[in-house]
């Protein structure tokens, strides 16, 4: 068993609240994990620390042997719950941006996935519905040949048809050498989708 991610006494506080307290966790290479818990249990905080967006208050987080930073971002693909894709861009430019910024981005795969997700490159991000935006986020995240995928609540607020498509895309993008962590507070829904 090879450890891809290791958290040691990871703690994160905001003002007087502790979002994470002494989290100890080991994630192995080549496995799919579900990070389950109610709202406010620290799932998103953990993901954001792993993605380099938040800095831990104390403790450490090691991914593939290095602390979170420029190096770890090269092989970590994080899909946040928020609408983080620039609204002024067209989908084509979002793909251009990912291709420019990430060496592991597979543009051909992204283009094929766009078709499956019923999205077109000439669509503007600002004109997309919530479900379409979620599908686009998934397309660009999974089109990276990353070692670690962090998918934060990928099914949250998504219609049934989009859910199905998103889950199919996650499954079809899995590789033996990659690790996926999917978070959800809707345990039963994630289980149901996964069992399909």
């Amino acid at each position: 068993m090879t450890i891809l991610l290791k958290a040691d006494n990871l703690t994160k506080g905001f003002f007087r609240n502790k979002a994470l307290t002494n989290l100890n966790l080991e994630i192995e290479k080549g496995k799919v994990y579900g990070l389950l818990g109610p709202n406010g249990s620290g799932k998103t905080t953990f993901f954001k620390i792993a993605a380099g967006l938040f800095k831990p208050t104390s403790g450490s987080l090691i991914i593939n042997g290095s602390t979170v930073g420029v190096e770890s971002k090269k092989y970590t693909a994080f899909m946040p719950t928020e609408d983080f894709l620039a609204k002024w861009m067209k989908i084509k430019m979002v793909l251009d941006f990912y291709a420019d910024m990430y060496e592991d981005f597979d543009r051909n795969q992204a283009q094929q996935s766009l078709e499956q997700m019923e999205l077109r490159e000439d669509m503007k991000v600002s004109s997309l519905s919530t479900g379409m935006k979620a599908r686009l986020k998934m397309v660009v995240t999974m089109a990276r040949k990353a070692s670690l995928y962090l998918l934060d609540e990928p099914l949250n607020g998504i219609d049934l048809i989009s859910r199905d498509k998103i889950m199919k895309m996650i499954v079809s993008s899995l590789r033996e050498d990659c690790t996926v962590i999917i978070s959800s507070h809707l345990v039963s829904e994630l289980e149901a989708e996964w069992m399909k």
Partner: protein, 258 residues
């Protein structure tokens, strides 16, 4: 870094183009009214144009500072900033790209301003300008500056360098104030006010350091030995600028939640 700059520029080129088109239309309108319709003397017309260009330069500068500040704070305060901060780029590269994009934008504003100035004055008032420059009043004012051309050019050049470094340091001071507020003081209330106070403190500190160094060098009478006042300020501003840049990039990389 160039790739980050590319997307900053793509994002704002339309807005810049619209803004500069509006400036062009306003400039044409002012010229039409002043040079075409006014019955006043050439000197009065040129004075009016001078006021217009003075105002235009002020507007350019204020908008430039607001825009460069927004480039950084927008990414820090909006979720769309994740697009940038998730990429495998260090804080140094992200900040560097924003500063260089800002400088390119400033350079564009300056070039447009100088072209409009040249076209307006040389195009419409070349004759009265020549007369003015040959006039006794003008020559006597110029003669007050006890400098030959050989001395004047380096003087102007070092002035320009000092202005340039001061503007860059002003931007870096704003970035540093935002970075300190978003990292070390992230959990303190009244964020906006705090940023402003930190900015003013940094400006005050910069002024104190500059005046201390200049006074020390002045006492040592070094300025008389070929070291010009403006060169010292420029070097000092570069050192302060580098310190502010390193501080902001370090905070962005190691201490800041985005």
């Amino acid at each position: 870094m160039l790739k980050l700059m590319k997307y900053e520029l793509i994002r704002k080129w339309r807005a810049i183009l619209v803004f500069l088109s509006i400036v062009l239309v306003i400039n044409a309108n002012v010229l039409y009214r002043v040079a075409g319709k006014w019955q006043n003397t050439n000197l009065e017309q040129m004075a009016a144009l001078g006021f217009f260009f003075g105002g235009l330069l002020t507007v350019f500068f204020i908008l430039f500072i607001i825009d460069v500040t927004n480039m950084y704070s927008r990414d820090l305060n909006n979720k769309t900033g994740y697009m940038v901060f998730l990429t495998p780029n260090s804080g140094y590269k992200i900040l560097g790209s924003k500063i260089l994009t800002g400088l390119l934008e400033g350079l564009l504003f300056l070039v447009v301003f100088l072209i409009l100035l040249a076209v307006s004055f040389l195009g419409f008032y070349s004759q009265p300008l020549t007369e003015m420059m040959n006039s006794e009043v003008f020559t006597s004012v110029i003669s007050e500056f006890d400098m030959s051309i050989g001395e004047l050019l380096p003087f102007l050049f070092s002035n320009l360098i000092t202005m340039f470094t001061s503007i860059v340091v002003l931007i870096l001071t704003i970035f540093a104030a935002i970075s300190i507020r978003k990292s070390i003081l992230a959990e303190v209330r009244f964020a906006g006010l705090l940023s402003l106070i930190i900015f003013m403190l940094l400006v005050w500190l910069n002024g104190k350091i500059t005046s201390l160094v200049v006074t020390t060098i002045n006492k040592a009478e070094l300025f008389t030995h070929g070291i010009h006042y403006f060169n010292v300020i420029s070097v000092l501003q570069i050192i302060i600028g580098v310190a502010l840049f390193v501080l902001s990039a370090y905070l962005l990389d190691k201490k800041m939640d985005v």
